[in-house]
């Protein structure tokens, strides 16, 4: 990266680009993580709700627990970008 011919503008632009890539990775990868985690819980919760409707609240609760992961990713991304 440390090319001698790079001007300051170019360095700054590439830094901004790197930040954007980092932010994208933060949201994307945590999103995948959340999805993988919710996959099993969601399927089990729907099964349980099919058996007993009263389970809806608890099922929803369990299903959204991994949401936190992607929220952390989103927070990091926002802090990176702004």
């Amino acid at each position: 990266m440390a090319d001698v011919n790079m001007t300051l503008d170019m360095v700054q632009a590439s830094q901004a680009g790197m930040k954007a890539i980092g932010a994208g990775l933060a949201v994307g990868l945590t999103g995948v993580g959340t999805g993988v985690a919710e996959m099993g819980i969601g399927a089990a919760a729907v099964g349980a709700i099919a058996e007993n409707k009263d389970f809806f609240g608890l099922g929803l609760l369990f299903t959204v627990i991994p949401e936190t992961i992607v929220i952390f990713g989103l927070v990091i991304a926002l802090l990176l970008l702004f």
């Binding site: 609240g57 959204v64 949401e67 936190t68 929220i71 952390f72 989103l74 927070v75 802090l79 702004f82």
Partner: protein, 657 residues
């Protein structure tokens, strides 16, 4: 408020001949939660027995089944029907005697006839399906049966077959399989079948019909059309009956239901040959009223008394006790679990905080207005109580969304004519010059964290109250202190962070005076807080120490209030940029036919994009707000699992006493 309604345990004793007036009075009062009497079933026990139903229960049940059968035919459901006027008892009785049998008979006959016609029409359809393969065979089907010397084979094969025996064969080519009809001498039958088998032959029975398949199919189609006409005629008749008698039917159903519920009440009482005893729960402030009403109904021939209540060990039924504006939020509580009788009821807090969270996330005047309009429109569609409550919750949330939208100065992602009153959420989308100071992300994050800290501290404090109320003995103090320990550990960590870093909107303790070993006052304080908290927690349960990281993750989880909100702002601004900046704006500059098309595309992008974002915002705003309550708030203090208070009786909608 903040606690379920106080309940009294009431015992009613009377002789059996007073059962009818007492049951009727209790039913009318709609307050008495009957505690079912359970026979112990011990051998040699000669005491109370479960009572027997009152007279007329069996007849009423039979009638109810008939009425419900008719309602099923018409697909009527009592809940979906607006009650117009309530029918009085004499009126309903005369109608049950006079009109109902006639209607029942007529509907039964019509429905029977209809199902017969339906069966016949199905039969014909089946025949048409059987004839379908033979449609292209121009031979009378009667000619394909009754041979002695020959054998007729019909069926599908998946490739061409050439027979080596003398035969006559017709092939109808299909898409991926062909239909063959072959006539071979009886003695060659086995050999032919083997040849066919190689081509995966699937035999088809030859329909028992006279005439060509084409002619027969036409005949059956005609028959089905005729049957359809008859069925339509019956449907019209039924629709007429439905139109004129719906009100009567739902009223009758209600009348029979009331009768059955009353008649079966003694099954829940303890009885001897002479007296019966009913035990149950009544809201404490209504207990006197019930005993007076029963006195009046029986002319004083009843004994009513209040029994002592042990709130911890009696399974006291739970009825919410909330101011009316918080009532709809009870629905959100019931989704999680009803509070126990001894527990703090957080409905009121939920009713206030939920809309605030929703508004913080979806703070946009445009979306708020759209949701509000949607609420009022849906009120006409949904009639059930639960749906109504849900809509009220949504209405409050959308009002809060409008208020926050004014504060954030947002309208469908555009800026309103004033600068944001609280922190700005305006992002810099599409390279446009940032208006004002740009988004105040850091400040917003800190505000969200503050909300989390306070919410969780409140939750732990409520946990202390709950444990103080519910636990006994040495465990009580330990449990209360453990909850206090969680608070001190959390605040210890926060103070430690303040002592090390400066953050917007938070105290900066870096400059606190140093007292010992190079440690400042605040650091020492935070260490004391954390160690004390850890000791308190470990004294209650050592395993709980494993849960310590949740302090950080739960507080940080409140960052979603900002993060989810910002993502919806970003989508809105991107939609605006795409539709106006990319399609409509350039097209307006020099108007042409292509430009008009571009404008239409731009408007489409605008509408679809905002519709999608509204749906996402509703889902995100609602789910994340409720999740913060369920996961981060309730887990600190709330157990739930209370028994629902179901008073004997019901709200009559179509009939009167």
């Amino acid at each position: 408020m903040l606690a379920p309604k106080p309940m009294s345990r009431v015992l009613i004793v009377a002789s059996r001949d007073q059962a009818v007036p007492i049951i009727q009075e209790l039913y009318r009062g709609h307050l008495f939660h009957i505690e079912d009497y359970v026979e112990q079933g011990r051998e040699g026990y000669e005491g109370f027995k479960i009572g027997t139903p009152l007279e007329g229960a069996t007849e009423a049940s039979a009638e109810l089944i008939k009425v419900r059968a008719i309602e099923n035919v018409f697909a009527i459901r009592g809940e979906d029907i607006e009650a117009k006027e309530k029918l009085g008892q004499p009126q309903i009785r005369s109608q049950i005697e006079k009109d109902l049998p006639g209607i029942e008979k007529e509907v039964e006959e019509l429905a029977g006839a209809r199902s017969k016609l339906d069966t016949k029409s199905k039969e014909y359809e089946q025949k048409i399906a059987e004839l379908a393969p033979f449609l292209e065979i121009p031979v009378d089907l009667a000619l394909l049966r009754g041979f002695r010397q020959f054998s007729v084979l019909a069926g599908f094969v998946n490739r061409d077959v050439s027979l080596t025996v003398p035969h006559e064969m017709q092939v109808v080519k299909g898409k991926d399989r062909s239909f063959v009809l072959a006539i071979v001498p009886e003695k060659n039958r086995t050999e032919t079948e083997r040849l066919f088998q190689d081509a995966q032959f699937q035999a088809v029975t030859i329909p028992e019909e006279n005439g060509t398949a084409m002619a027969r199919t036409a005949y059956y189609t005609e028959q089905i059309a005729a049957l359809k006409k008859e069925i339509d005629a019956i449907n019209t008749k039924l629709a007429k009956i439905k139109e004129s008698h719906t009100d009567l039917l739902v009223a009758c159903e209600e009348a029979f239901r009331v009768k059955i519920e009353q008649a079966e009440a003694p099954l829940r009482f303890a009885t001897t040959s002479k007296v019966f005893v009913a035990e149950g729960w009544v809201p404490a402030d209504r207990a006197n009223g019930i005993s007076e009403a029963l006195d009046r109904a029986t002319g004083g021939k009843v004994f009513v008394t209040e029994l002592p209540v042990d709130p911890l060990h009696d399974a006291v039924p739970v009825e919410y006790n909330n101011p009316s504006f918080a009532k709809p939020a009870q629905m959100l509580m019931d989704i999680y679990s009803r509070p126990m009788y001894t527990e703090v009821d957080p409905t009121l807090m939920l009713a206030i905080v939920f809309p605030l969270f929703f508004g913080l996330i979806l703070g946009d005047v445009g979306y708020g207005l759209l949701l509000l309009i949607m609420c009022f429109a849906l009120r006409r569609v949904f009639k059930g109580d639960e749906a109504r409550e849900f809509l009220v919750v949504l209405r409050n949330a959308s009002i809060s969304s409008i208020i926050f939208g004014i504060l954030f100065s947002e309208f469908l992602g555009f800026e309103l004519p004033w600068a944001p009153i609280i922190f700005s959420r305006h992002l810099n989308i599409g390279g446009a010059e940032a208006a004002g100071q740009g988004p105040a992300i850091a400040q917003l994050m800190v505000v969200a964290i503050w909300i989390g800290i306070l919410h969780i501290t409140l939750g732990r404090a409520l946990g202390m109250i709950n444990h103080a109320r519910q636990d006994h003995g040495p465990h009580r103090m330990k449990a209360v202190l453990a909850n206090f320990g969680w608070i001190t550990v959390m605040w210890g960590i926060i103070i430690a962070i303040w002592s090390m870093f400066a953050m917007p909107l938070m105290p900066d303790l870096r400059g606190a005076p140093i007292i010992a070993a190079g440690l400042s006052v605040s650091i020492v304080l935070s260490i004391i807080f954390i160690v004390m908290g850890l000791i308190f927690i470990a004294r209650d349960s050592v395993l709980e120490i494993v849960e310590l990281p949740t302090i950080i993750s739960h507080v940080l989880s409140y960052a979603r209030l900002v993060a989810v909100g910002l993502s919806s702002v970003a989508i809105a601004m991107v939609v605006n940029y795409m539709s106006i900046g990319m399609f409509i704006g350039p097209a307006l500059k020099n108007l042409s036919i292509v430009g008009v098309v571009l404008i239409i595309v731009g408007v489409l992008v605008f509408v679809l994009g905002h519709a999608l974002n509204l749906a996402l915002g509703l889902l995100g705003g609602g789910l994340h707000s409720i999740r913060l309550h369920y996961v981060e708030f309730f887990t600190k203090f709330y157990k739930g699992g209370g028994r629902k208070y179901i008073p004997f009786g019901m709200k009559r909608r179509f009939t009167e006493d």
